[in-house]
């Protein structure tokens, strides 16, 4: 299908909400924003089945007997979102062939970084490799927030988490963040993109539409900050997202049929320090004597940015 080239912010916001108010996510949480933003990209006449890995989003949006979803929804377990939605999509194909289902149904599943980068990585990889016609959306808040801010393979180096706390000997998490978007791109699926909440949501909306309406398995990685784990005041969420992009900590890009494309290039790349300073999880990096941590973080961001530029321009 031909997707519109122009984005109308007001018209988009006027679309009927598919993620209803009344869910129990925290104020200033990125997960709910990700779900609302992605579901807004559905054509209003299309039905959807929403999948979900266990996590904050699941326990806050489907407490029996209340569901926040206007569409059908399935949660099975922490590590099974990719496989469960594969089964739903397979059932759709079978029932459509038999004439038992006639209209268009889209399949979108949400998982946090725990359910996506770590415990659900295998079932996600399987679903991508098999090429089911579905979209997997990771709302990446860089730790296991639902169980109380434990480190994940998505937690950036130096971040203090409850299983990688900063102490007098260990400076927070020792390892760099896993580059999952690249790993999924290496599955050679037709569409992979990285986005977050920027300005008028144009980036999230257009990428979600491409992901949902590109036939085959597609993947969206959405940086979705967590006020408890990252330690910021709820109202600072847009500013944190903006700085993540302007410092190139979280670059916006897409990989469409193997072609890498940068969605946004900061006019002046800001120092990573500005992004780190806003968050309590990096507090220890600003203590005297720990300057090397900020330098190391900057070096890592620079290296990743150069690699990305090479892929996008090369």
């Amino acid at each position: 299908m031909e997707l519109e080239r122009t984005y109308h912010f007001k018209k988009t916001l006027e679309k009927k909400e598919r993620f209803a108010p009344g869910h129990r996510l925290c104020a200033g949480c990125g997960a709910g924003i990700a779900v609302r933003g992605v579901l807004r990209a559905l054509n209003e006449e299309d039905r959807a089945v929403i999948g979900n890995a266990t996590g904050c989003l699941e326990v806050s949006s489907f407490l029996y007997p209340y569901t926040a979803y206007e569409d059908s929804y399935i949660h099975t377990a922490f590590e099974s979102a990719g496989a469960s939605l594969s089964g739903v999509e397979a059932a759709y194909n079978a029932l459509k062939r038999k004439g038992k289902v006639k209209d268009t149904v889209k399949f979108i599943t949400f998982g946090g970084d725990g359910g996506t980068y770590d415990i659900g990585f295998q079932s996600l990889s399987g679903a991508m490799e098999r090429g089911h016609d579905l979209t997997y959306v990771c709302y990446d808040n860089e730790a296991y927030m639902n169980t109380g801010i434990q480190r994940s393979s998505s937690t950036p180096r130096f971040a203090s988490a409850t299983t990688s706390p900063a102490g007098s000997v260990v400076p927070g998490k020792k390892q760099n963040k896993k580059n999952l978007t690249d790993i999924i791109a290496a599955h050679n699926v037709p569409y992979v993109a990285q986005t977050t909440f920027i300005g008028n949501f144009r980036d999230l909306y257009t990428k979600a539409r491409k992901a949902i309406y590109t036939p085959g398995a597609t993947f969206l990685n959405v940086m979705a900050p967590c006020p408890r784990g990252w330690e910021y005041p709820a109202e600072m969420l847009p500013e944190i997202c903006r700085l993540a992009v302007e410092t190139c900590v979280w670059p916006l890009f897409e990989v469409e049929n193997g072609v890498w494309r940068l969605s946004y290039e900061p006019k002046k790349k800001l120092p990573v320090e500005e992004y780190l300073r806003m968050q309590g999880r990096f507090r220890h990096m600003f203590k005297p004597g720990n300057e090397w941590m900020i330098e190391a973080a900057q070096k890592s961001v620079d290296e990743n940015w150069e690699k990305l530029l090479a892929k996008c321009l090369g």
Binding site: R47, V49, G51, N52, E58, V59, F62, L63, Y64, P65, T67, Y69, E70, D71, S72, Y73, I74, H75, T76, A77, E79, S80, G82, A83, S84, L85, S86, G87, V88, E89, A90, A91, Y92, N93, A94, L95, R97, K98, K100, V101, D103, V105, Q122, S123, S125, G126, E129, R130
Partner: protein
Amino acid sequence: MNYNDRLSGNEAIAFAMKQIDPDVMAAFPITPSTEIPQYFAQYVANGEVNTEYVPVESEHSSMSACIGAQAAGARAVTATSSAGLALMYEMMYVASSSRLPITLACVNRALTGPININNDHSDSMGIRDAGWIQIYAENNQEAYDNFLQAMPIGEHPDVRLPVMICQDGFITSHALENITLLDTESVKAFVGEYNPENYLLKKENPLAIGPYDLGCHYMEHKIQQAESMKFAKERILEVAAEFEKISGRKYGLFEEYQMEDAEVALVLIGSSAGTAKAAVEELREQGVKAGLIKIRVFRPFPAEEIAEALKNVKAVAIMDKAESFSAQGGPLFAEVRSALYDLESRPKAVGYVYGLGGRDITPQHFQGVYGRLLDIAKGGDLGPVYTHLGQRG
């Protein structure tokens, strides 16, 4: 029209699946059940079925995909053994608590530690409390017949529980036997269409599955599952009666062999029943009143019926093909001995664990057990109630 063919147990299950033509099959290979998805994938490749085949990357995902498919409104099947079933463990509970009548062909194999590919029942016994109906087969014919009965049992609106159809790895799964098959038209008419009331893809009424239950609802949901499992016993017998009409083969919750006047009896599960029957025959020729109960349905457990069948027996040996490491016998022993408790006068009961990791069991072994039961029946010493049988030394 019934007709005869020579099929292995795995072929019989794959053929039953082909006749049923389910909407979705999701499976991952593991010995000795591997042939089932292999045969089925060939049916798909040849266009002989209309099924979506999902070649998943693990058994955890095969059960997850079956849950998604069945929840979406489709009929989903899978097959596995041993470590594969163990990897599904978490999702087995999700399937049963979501009330999704998935059908799983379990080809019983020992659980790893050490790795062993041969038959015992430690895999399905380990998962006996996951809320699945469990039906066991003695031979290839029963494996085929049980699989055809699974969906009419599990999909009944008052049951809505997943069903596991078990057979003994290699002993029946890989051995060829002459069995009688039903024609596909009769199978389709017997099994019927899957028409759930609510499902994810239903246009008129979106459905949410897999909630977070707080303390105020969780227990009620579990009791609903438990009540359905109680009702399942009745449904299993109804379906067996319907099946007898089209096949001429009679099934119950368990088979009673030479039990009318039995003074000593064995209770066991699966292919060992054939071996035990040979022992019973020989003893009967010597005038010994030996009998046998072969469990077909382990979940729901037919406790009252077993107590009734054993009430006139003087001594009974309950034979487990699985260790439970309870230090006092296997799971079947625990269930059967508990079932006997309400009888006014109870038979003496002993338990044996045998056949682990494919260890052979012979008619001579069983004759030895009957010999001990005869001693006990005559007032001899009961001896240790929990022992092993068939080990070296």
